[in-house]
Amino acid sequence: MERAKGTVTPLASVFSAEESQKAAKRLEETIGDRQRELNWLRGFAADNTGLVNLVQRLPDELSHEIMVPFGSAAFFPGRLIHTNEFLVLLGEGYYAERSSKQTVEILQRRGKSLESQVESLKATIADLEVEAKFLDVTAYEAAEGVVDIREEYVEEDHQGTSSNSGKPYQFKSENMNVAIDDEDYARIMARMDELEKEELAAQSGSSDEEDVGVDANFGCSISKNFFDDNDYVRSYVLKIRSSMNVDSTENQIKDLTQKLEDAKTTYSTAEQPSGIASQRVPSSRLSIGDIKEQPGVKESSLHEMERIDSRKQPPGPSEPKKVQAVAPVSEAFTGTVVERSTSSLMNQSSASSQVSSSNPSKPVSRFKMQRANRG
């Protein structure tokens, strides 16, 4: 059985841009014609209502003094008598003698038929407009190079009932949503739990890079777990926080730098034998850039810490990592972890695609390495 295979057809090959534009233009012209017709009909309707008013008013008086048109240019005074007698053209050359009231009835019937014509014309115009809009959009999309992706949804084999529904879905994500039944759901959740555990273990005693990775995969719920379960990081964070809130006393700074030192050693030892160093370095650099973009307190605290670093110990090649190890975690504690992580994730993914082609998160291997280092 075939695995789900999609077909990708550029929209331009189905509807060429020029053709649809031409069609749209033609439609516009038709719409214009119809619009003119509609205006014409509306004119008739207005005339009709005017006539109805006049006919209703005429029999109010026995006679009316009027100017009678004589030819196209001249008028002479005259008088309308028999104001309740009308000769009404019914159409096709037939006339009927009617009273004012009867005439009004005829005119109103005519007005109704006019109205229905107007309505139908309006509906036609609306239809045409929708069509024209569609064609316009199609032309635009074809010009833009939009592609139509169709994928047959094939149910997983483990169900046994692998029936090919044969129904094409526009997007894959859509058919994923449709497809998940209970069994699948349970399986996926189990897998998620597994991954979460691995991520948590991998993160203990380490920095934000994994944090970023976690967020990439699972979102904020894991970050919460991460801080709940992980005492080491928590104490770490608390200290940093206090140093941020209170004007950092010498003791706290010492403590902090000590921690930083620890972190640095953890890092460097973790990194020395690792094959993913090339992946880490660019991402950490990136994180620093990220942090510096953050305004206000965080930035100042970051600078402060950098200063502390340079005071207490000679600047090493791994200094950026220390700073980076601290600041994002502190931010994480202030509750901005999800937002920041995703933003840095976005940066990271784009940067990692530029700088190094390796996968941004490799939780399992990292975990193993760090456990080996610690134990």
Partner: protein, 130 residues
Amino acid sequence: MGSSTALKELQRDLEVQANLLSKLQKEISKNHQVRKQYTIQLGENELVLKELDLLKEDANVYKLIGPVLVKQDLAEANANVRKRIEYISAELKRLDGSLQDLEDQQNSKKSAVMKIQQKIQTLQAGKAKS
């Protein structure tokens, strides 16, 4: 130079067929116009019939014939209008039939023209090769 004379013949043929085709198209468009007119007249007559039906027996009905209004019996007018409607409906039906016919002819002519064009193309291609 057998091929060139054949080509010329084909081209003449094509011209003739194309002329016939355009004539057919003209006829079709004429048919459409006439039909439109008849449809409008049918609508008008139906309206008249409705109004006549609503009139009372003693109402005066006139028919405009040329410049004069001629008084007519209501029943007579009614019958006339009905007859007229019948005639128009029959005419419309006839026009529909002829339109169908014309369209069939047009399609066959179109395919004939296409065939001749293809022949000309193949001939030209063969000429270019040789």
